[in-house]
Symmetry: C3
Subunit: 230 residues, 3 copies
């Protein structure tokens, strides 16, 4: 995802992005309460994602970061201590305003990131796509490569937070996008995964988790299936 | 070494490999007692070394790894917890079955890996070959590069576990292979090195060392000399 | 800087180097007292900087390093424990003997390396040159990139050890050379910076700092300004 639209409302901040091939969609919400100070008029900004990441890496883990929109020069101004970093904003008029569609997916699984990390890592050595499947008793990640290479991670109810699969489901996905999504979260974060057969996968997880007040944000991720199995 | 032959006997497991140019030979033995469970029919398997390493890196340091041969599909199946990783086996019929020849080498030295690590590291900046020499009182690693570059590491009896050199010896070796062998072992492991003049070097070391029961395996390494000194 | 001249006198050791385009000059002095043992005839040696660094990386942090000149073979011989590493010396007859010119620069600032590290890091994502400026009340690093990208680090008297700027000054410099100089020093080291307008910057800092006896060396750095602003 090269660019993203950042929406500021009175209640908080939302970032939405779609990858260039329209296979994956991501929506991140941060409530007003996730910020130390939040004073904003409703507005939207177009972000170059890579540049925004580069700007934020200047801040240390405990540095207070201040974001400000410079309307005159159409820039985002980031203040970190005595340092001011400005970056241009993109025109949002041509940007899609993706809405995560409401999908009726028959299976739902809740699992900690750490439970599937090893399976994803092993799969990367085998192929670039991964099948996610559910049955009444298990959630499986299966990756079939060329030759006799394969990875099969099967998690029973004891490894899952929740499993609700009235019918068996299975869909094939881009491993790269699935891995990027999962690996962006800490190992103890719970993924809420909704699945069907040859249908998109929808993943929800908490963001900005605070021991005292709970999550003050969330991320929603939608990934289209690869139908053309060979 | 691209491929290796893994021999399973009733007593344990042996891996043998020769490098493509037949300069280096390695033989690794792991006793049955080195495994938590060992149930095997005698058999042999051909391994793609790089692939086997990739498969094993999925396992954490404390994960139990289960190796199984799938005869129907001619695959090696590796189970790590809930994860199953399969990889194809190679045909062993064309693979050499190298035997470390019995050599009568006049000098023997026992030295900890850590004592020669710095010398090997320094040598890499100077040349791609290294001379190992013994005299009555010392074990030396000498590396002569172009120009006036050189490295000379001289270890006396106080740095050696053992030195037995009735005659002076010296042979020249590929630094790359020698370094790979030495650096695969921990710094406190003792190398038993047998040397002659313009003869192969033979190195033995313990593997699968357990504080309670001692070593449950060993590695034998043979490296041909480079005769054509310039 | 590819090569440098090392001058040994009765009082200590001095290394001088100029970069190939004659934009930057560096002079490092280490007093006799910075060494455990210092026995030397006055002489000069030509060093290949990269090779010298490679040789020194063999030594651990607490290893005693012994430098010796081998006049017969025109080599520098470095002894580290049982290890001897030799490297060729370069002919110094063609090497410049740069003298840091005496410059009358109107502003001087003293600041800890750590205070400007973040600003330099952020600037690298924006442009390859940086403006250093002083006013009566502040020291500023400003980096203007293409588009609306910019970095502005403004340090007031409370972040500075010293600020003495009778007139406002500003000069533009190569960010690469400035960053290399600053980043070679620990975060708590004080830089003494002398600045003018469209004039070179001169930076002094202590080296070989010892808690008991203070600094036993120093580094002087001179960097020419980039006049052709666009």
């Amino acid at each position: 995802m090269d660019e993203a639209k950042l929406n500021v409302t009175e209640d908080g901040l939302q970032i939405k992005a779609v990858d260039p091939s329209h296979v994956a969609m991501i929506e991140t919400n941060l409530a007003k309460s996730a910020f130390d100070v939040f004073e904003a008029e409703p507005m939207e900004m177009g972000l170059d994602i890579d540049k925004f990441k580069t700007v934020l890496t200047v801040a240390g883990k405990t540095d207070m970061v201040e974001l400000e929109k410079d309307d005159d020069l159409n820039r985002l101004v980031v203040n970190i201590g005595n340092l001011t970093r400005a970056m241009p904003l993109l025109d949002t008029s041509g940007m899609p305003d993706p809405k995560v569609p409401s999908l009726d997916l028959p299976a739902s699984v809740s699992v900690a990131v750490g439970e599937i990390g090893q399976g994803i890592k092993a799969s990367k050595t085998v192929s670039d796509h991964i099948a996610l499947s559910t049955s009444k008793d298990s959630f499986r990640l299966v990756c079939e490569g060329d030759n006799q290479n394969s990875v099969d991670l099967s998690l029973g109810k004891e490894q899952l937070e929740k499993l609700d699969s009235s019918e068996d489901t299975t869909s094939l996905f881009s491993l790269e996008y699935f891995a990027l999504m999962v690996n962006s979260l800490p190992a103890d974060r719970i993924l809420h995964i909704n699945l069907g057969t040859d249908l998109p996968v929808k993943i929800d997880a908490d963001l900005a988790v605070d021991d005292m007040t709970g999550a003050q944000g969330n991320v929603k991720f939608l990934l289209a299936p690869r139908i053309d199995r060979d």
